[in-house]
Symmetry: C2
Subunit: 225 residues, 2 copies
């Protein structure tokens, strides 16, 4: 969902707890199925129950926690169909984006994308997988910006968090060379102002997430519904 719904500036305790818990969940320090309680987390962070409770509400709305009233709160297991449909949503939107970007020739889009890919190659050579992943995300967000729908990327980003949990389970195994090659194909199609080709390249690029998912389900069945 589109958020940062409260004005920036102040830094409340609740917001800190939200960020900390989200990191723990995405990094799998808190595993799917783990039971947590307001008291536990409050004690662990040295704060009162109240801000923790509010953090739970926010994270539950983001699909990371499941609050069972009067019972307990658990780290939500990953829903395979949920991830697949998130991918469907992402593909739908990104295809539309890439067609737009490739359809407006004469822009500096190809140049910008080329620079990003060069940076990714550096990160890949340096084995800096963290930076590589950040650049990968930036590549896609940049496409959204070039298409004039940056807001749409926020949506994708919110839903991508579930896939990020999956990705974290297979860290380092990702073949960055292949991702770079696919990015190059996309950028090339943009340079040629060929929407059809760009669409094909984008679909192929995003299709890899499916194999990642099925593989991970086999390796960590307990983390999935």
């Amino acid at each position: 969902m589109a958020n940062e719904t409260l004005e920036s500036g102040a830094e409340t305790i609740a917001m800190r707890v939200v960020g900390a818990l989200r990191d723990e969940i995405v990094s799998m320090a808190l595993k799917p199925g783990d039971v947590i309680s307001e008291s536990d987390i409050a004690a662990r962070y040295g704060v009162s129950r109240q801000p923790v409770r509010e953090a739970f509400i926010r994270l539950a709305q983001q699909g990371l926690l499941l609050i069972r009233p009067k019972r307990a709160t658990v780290v939500k297991k990953i829903s395979p169909t949920g991830v697949r449909q998130s991918r469907f949503i992402r593909e739908s939107i990104e295809v539309e984006i890439i067609r737009r970007v490739a359809g407006q020739p004469g822009s500096d889009a190809a140049q910008v994308l080329g620079d990003l890919i060069a940076e990714q190659e550096q990160a890949s050579s340096a084995n800096d997988s963290r930076r590589f992943h950040a650049l990968d995300e930036l590549f896609h967000r940049t496409l959204a910006r070039l298409a004039g729908v940056e807001y749409a990327w926020q949506l994708i980003d919110d839903h991508k968090i579930q896939l990020d949990r999956v990705r974290y389970l297979t860290l380092g195994v990702s073949s960055s060379q292949r991702a770079i090659a696919e990015h190059k194909q996309i950028a090339e199609a943009v340079a040629k102002a060929d929407p059809e080709l760009a669409e094909i390249a984008m679909r192929a690029h995003l299709a890899r997430a499916e194999t990642l998912l099925t593989q991970t389900i086999e390796d960590f069945p307990d983390f999935f519904e």
Copy 2:
């Protein structure tokens, strides 16, 4: 965002307040820019501040409220670019959906859609605009179901709430005849198993929201950012 994140069954006060406030906001009883406070709402509903506060948090994450820490909470004004990009998102997804549905011939999709359109014609004849709107929504959700991505519709639904506020401002003016005709074109393309034609019909159908938006901005400029 995909929610109902807390198990159904119990009916807490906070949930009741969420529903009541959401209705008030969508029905424009609470107008964009209106300032509300936890105490106000708590007194108005005869409950404590705590559940109201939690309701505020939920509604803020849904983009209906803006919490300004230590200052106030206001009913969020409608963002024209936000609505436009929501429309972009919706169009991207629904185009993909309709192509899928039209691409799998031999199903009973056309039959199901035809029945829905018939019901809409009844509602239109009876001037039951409320039922008509519900059936319109059902038409699109049914398409998502037929494509096997009902979850995706939930996403659209969550974002559609902003457009619903706009729609409420122009209630009754909607030309239902035209909407029915467009639905018929879509259903016909599905019956012919022609994805290209279905896509064109769907895009034309969704494009009408744009004129609705620009018109409403002119009529109620104070409600927009």
